[in-house]
């Protein structure tokens, strides 16, 4: 048992020791969710402070899924806030930015398979992208992803499967387009 009950103050030293080793994982997830370096830094900082606040709720074990759950929630709140503050409608935000990413970058890197891969990842809907990041980049087991994303394991599996299908389709379509 890591935490003690009551009104005891958070323990920064223990917190740092437990949570800071996962900073890269936290940042990578935030970076892929926000798709922006500055937002990712702000999100991670905010997430760590939130995590400190809720540290009493951490029951030991692997800290990574626990921390990533906080990062994910912070990032999703951030994205919602950003969307409403820019007062762009949901459709415009999603489709506009996708269209832009797709057309601008196509010109720059047509046919570059690595760049295509990154674009296809960026084009995935957030709820698919986060699962791919945790599974393929963090190499987390389904159980941990389920914890971090607050989803049943079955949903993790079906989203992962659909995400992979979309990625394969996206890559195939873009490579075909580029070879025209």
């Amino acid at each position: 048992m890591i935490s003690q009950p009551g009104r005891e103050a958070p323990k920064p030293a223990l917190f740092e020791e437990t949570m800071l080793p996962h900073l890269d994982a936290a940042y990578n997830l935030a970076r892929w969710l926000t798709r922006n370096e500055h937002d990712a830094q702000d999100v991670v900082q905010e997430a760590y402070l939130r995590a400190l606040r809720f540290f009493d709720g951490f029951r030991g074990g692997d800290a990574r899924p626990w921390l990533l759950a906080v990062v994910r929630n912070t990032a999703l709140t951030w994205l919602r806030r950003k969307r409403s503050s820019t007062q762009v409608s949901f459709d415009e935000e999603i489709h506009g930015s996708r269209l832009e990413a797709a057309t601008v970058e196509t010109k720059l890197v047509a046919g570059d398979r690595f760049a295509e891969l990154r674009i296809c990842l960026d084009l995935l809907p957030t709820e698919f992208r986060e699962i791919v990041v945790m599974r393929e980049m963090e190499e987390m087991p389904y159980r941990d992803i389920a914890e971090a994303a607050s989803l049943p394991i079955g949903t993790v599996m079906s989203r992962l499967s659909r995400a992979r299908q979309r990625l394969q389709d996206c890559l195939a379509a873009r490579m075909k387009e580029a070879s025209k």
Binding site: P10, E16, D24, Y27, N28, Q41, Q45, L121, E136
Partner: protein, 248 residues
């Protein structure tokens, strides 16, 4: 096993989520079924592509230190206030987010001119104010409170303005030192970023300056016989906007 059940197990197989018996069954099927083997190969190819070519974004230098500082600060405030207001901690932490590894910045090694020396001074004052929890002597968003507070404490009276309407609310002020003189430090907030605006009277105006050091922007201008130095980790466009409000 036939193809249908294997297809639904291919991804858990790839993800090493199957038990030994299922794993063996899928492997045996893959060895004898070209169509399933092809699907498996494509999944494997996608995985290899992501793992070897999609960027893994590592936390930038300085972020770890910023978090460490803010966590320690929040922890100190929490123990001081024993179950006290988290809202205050959140605000303080938000401001402290801006603290970075500026202690070992290039500035300390690379200055040459007088302006650089002042820039170094205001930047370290800025960082110190955020680390040391001595950000405000007079916490107030009312310029009619902040301005008189400086009277008698300084040999000049700073021009204190509030830009809450423009998204740069005044949150207070303090006395600080730049070089060997006392200066007024006015503190503004932009989202979770703090802006320190230092000001003191000067005999002759020097040239305006704009510097960037380790994620901090420093803007300098002169007006009304005063030197002004704004420091923040805010992006430079918004900091210029802030300068624009003051110079108007």
């Amino acid at each position: 096993m036939t193809c249908a059940p294997v297809k639904s197990l291919l991804e858990p197989y790839l993800d090493e989520e199957l038990d030994a018996a299922q794993r063996a069954q899928v492997a045996a099927h893959l060895a004898s079924c070209a169509s399933c083997a092809e699907m498996h190969a494509q999944l494997l190819e996608l995985r290899t592509a992501i793992r070897s070519h999609a960027p893994y974004y590592r936390a930038p230098a300085g972020l770890r230190e910023r978090i460490r500082f803010s966590v320690r600060q929040a922890g100190r405030n929490a123990s001081r206030q024993a179950g006290g207001s988290w809202r205050w901690i959140a605000i303080a932490a938000g401001i402290l987010l801006t603290v970075s590894a500026a202690w070992n910045v290039a500035l300390f090694r690379s200055h040459t001119s007088g302006a650089d020396l002042i820039a170094q001074n205001v930047l370290s004052s800025h960082v110190r104010s955020l680390i040391g929890a001595h950000l405000l002597d007079v916490p107030s968003s009312d310029r009619h409170t902040v301005k008189p507070w400086f009277n008698g404490k300084l040999d000049f009276s700073p021009d204190v303005r509030d830009f809450a309407a423009q998204g740069f609310p005044l949150i207070g002020g303090r006395i600080d030192y730049v070089g060997d003189r006392q200066v007024a430090a006015l503190v503004y907030q932009r989202r979770q970023h703090a802006i320190n605006l230092f000001t003191w009277p000067v005999a002759a105006a020097d040239s305006p300056a704009e510097l960037m050091r380790n994620g901090y922007h420093v803007l300098h201008w002169n007006s009304g016989g005063m030197a002004w130095w704004a420091v923040s980790d805010l992006n430079v466009d918004e900091l210029r906007q802030f300068e624009g409000l003051y110079r108007r």
